[in-house]
Symmetry: C2
Subunit: 390 residues, 2 copies
């Protein structure tokens, strides 16, 4: 197996605090990185690197770990730009618009859903994302949820069963929870790593604390890890339920009580913030800086979906988190890489220490700071390795 | 001369109200456009188009007029990402940081400034911008202002003399105004179409109403059109001075009094909003929707510069204007195209009616609405015509 030497890295963010400047970002300047067998095998100063068979010179560009987008809904059909336009004019989001996406998704062919999903994954990779989680949740029948996850599994191991996204229109709540925790879970678990639930008593379409607990415990019994959509529309039980059950992450966290923050700081559950949702739904932003200061582990993700956050751009999410959530540029980048990896309980991605997957995002910029300093500009791309066998 | 037929346009925004749906955006669905001699020669429904020598099929994508970015500072050296980082942590912007960029710009070679400028223009074009205004203002000596404009003129006819950007450090105010209105103007006017001034009594670095009037009148006497940076940091005289003197545009308009809005609505001066500045300086956003409702002509621009808005992305500016300035997606697109053209007093750009320059922005999306609906995603690019002679 050949070794690939990546040189000309003006600034290398490793997210390995044992490297470089010793900060959480582990920053080296004028660095070199060696890749063997798809993994980082050496990191250090330019000039001290071992010999290698192939060289890539990045001309002084910055390199950061490929973004880990730990929350995305990418298996769907339809378009909700008119709903977006109405919301821009003042309409509020309550979760009800999901029904339109569900109808379109059920009507679409596998081939169509697969092509669109692959289009989104390519779009994300072109913006520096190298790991993405993909949820079901627009099928809401046994057959449609299972096929969504089967298709998602073709592009990522991070697949999440979200049959409990909303109660489908015209469906009995109790019966639907029984379906989700019974036959639907049985059909979906083989294709999923995670189970998730939209725990939001404030929405008539979502699930309350007891229903959410049922869904999560059933998923856990089927061998799935736990995730929660919680505290998006109002304070509620989602965060504390997630922490109590040892969920990997509670996502949204838009409305948190002091008890929620305390629970997150004392547990192993990551708070995944989704600023694209607040942007697109005209909602208030949670104070991410205060969460970090309280000792909470924070991740950032896109929540890419057609209703409430149709962005696939992790750089945009980073810039928003700095502007609106009071994260520093360094905290935001960490949350979008190492934080996302923790939200997925992965140790092989989200950093570029020795042994990590060779998932590099290259920036057309001298420093990671430019991700927030140059908002909206497509600076990041995933590095395509010259030989997939190295 | 050959004709080029552009087909497969799923949605065509012409910004010509005599076309399509008759709205200000003049939208046609399933449209065709013919280009001859670099101009639009025919617009209409697919199937009815005349014969042509060359065809480009856009596969159902939306087409909008290339963005007109009427406010940018692209001739400079240096990096202010550390200042940005400090501001993200709570520091305020008062215009003082410009001094660092001035020192770096003076020290740079022509070749270096030219290469960087061309890099920005290419970056903008890759995001759908086809007309850009470029200001001087980081030289602040006769020689350095003139060379900035000479270099800028190589890439755009829309060059603006902004010797009155700030009073240089260690310089006598009165003497500097005399320099700007005398020898500096004489050296710069041959390379400039416009004169501009940072009229902001709230900043110790900028110019008051009397100084600003002097600068503008001297520029007008030298044959230049008028533009004003005004009302960025606080309410002040900038807007009313601009309207009184018939300036093409007053830019920023962050802090407006009722009298300012009334003056703008009653005059021929465009209000150019720069939401990237409010984003990057953590300032309040002006209410663009209220300006439109009051009858003011609104444009949107990036203000791309290393201190207060280092974005080159008109789609990002559109998304911000919808989220934060209460423009509708349609109003924001109009302001970024037709509005920008009015701010530059150009009738050949900013629309795609017959006779317009063939400046097309193609979207990887079915509708212009996606520019705001998919924030941060690089959907737009300027269409490179297959033969530059058509």
């Amino acid at each position: 197996m050949s070794a690939l030497l990546v040189t000309g890295i003006g600034e290398l963010v490793t997210c390995d605090p044992t490297l470089g400047d010793g900060s959480p970002l582990g920053v080296l300047t004028d660095a070199t990185l060696v890749i063997e067998n798809g993994r980082v095998s050496w990191v250090g100063p330019a000039g001290a690197a071992p010999a290698a068979d192939v060289r890539v010179d990045l001309g002084g560009r910055a390199v950061v770990p490929g973004f880990v987008d730990s929350h995305a809904h990418l298996v769907f059909a339809g378009d909700r730009s008119r709903e977006f336009e109405a919301r821009a004019g003042g309409a509020r989001y309550d979760g009800g618009g999901i029904a339109g996406t569900v109808a379109a998704t059920r009507a679409a062919t596998d081939e169509w859903l697969r092509a669109r999903l692959r289009g989104f994954v390519a779009e994300m990779r072109a913006q520096g994302t190298t790991t993405v989680e993909v949820k079901s949740g627009y099928g809401l029948t046994v057959v449609d949820e299972a096929r969504s996850l089967r298709i998602a599994r073709e592009v990522t191991p991070e697949t999440t069963f979200l049959g409990a996204h909303v109660v489908p229109q015209g469906t009995d709540r109790r019966g639907y929870v029984d379906l989700v925790t019974g036959p639907m879970l049985a059909a979906c678990a083989p294709h999923a790593r995670w189970v998730d639930v939209f725990c939001e008593p404030a929405s008539p379409h979502a699930f309350d604390a007891d229903e959410s607990r049922e869904v999560l415990l059933a998923g856990a019994a089927a061998g799935l890890g736990l995730r929660v959509h919680g505290n998006q529309l109002a304070e509620g039980p989602g965060v504390r339920l997630g922490v109590e059950l040892g969920a990997a992450s509670v996502d949204h966290c838009t409305h948190l009580s002091a008890a929620d923050v305390e629970a997150l700081a004392g547990g192993s559950t990551v708070a995944t913030l989704l600023p694209g949702v607040e942007f697109s739904t005209r909602s208030p932003y949670p104070d991410g800086g205060a969460l970090v200061a309280a000792g909470v582990t924070v991740a950032l993700a896109t929540d890419c979906n057609p209703g409430t956050s149709f962005t696939s751009s992790m750089p945009f999410v980073i810039a928003l988190a700095v502007r609106e959530m009071r994260l520093t540029p360094a905290q935001a980048l960490w949350a979008a890489t190492a934080g996302g990896a923790m939200a997925l309980r992965r140790t092989d991605v989200g950093h570029l220490g020795v042994g990590a997957r060779a998932d590099l995002a290259v920036l057309d910029a001298p420093s990671y700071r430019h991700l927030a300093y140059r908002p909206g500009v497509p600076l990041a791309r995933a590095l395509d390795l010259p030989d997939p066998r190295v």
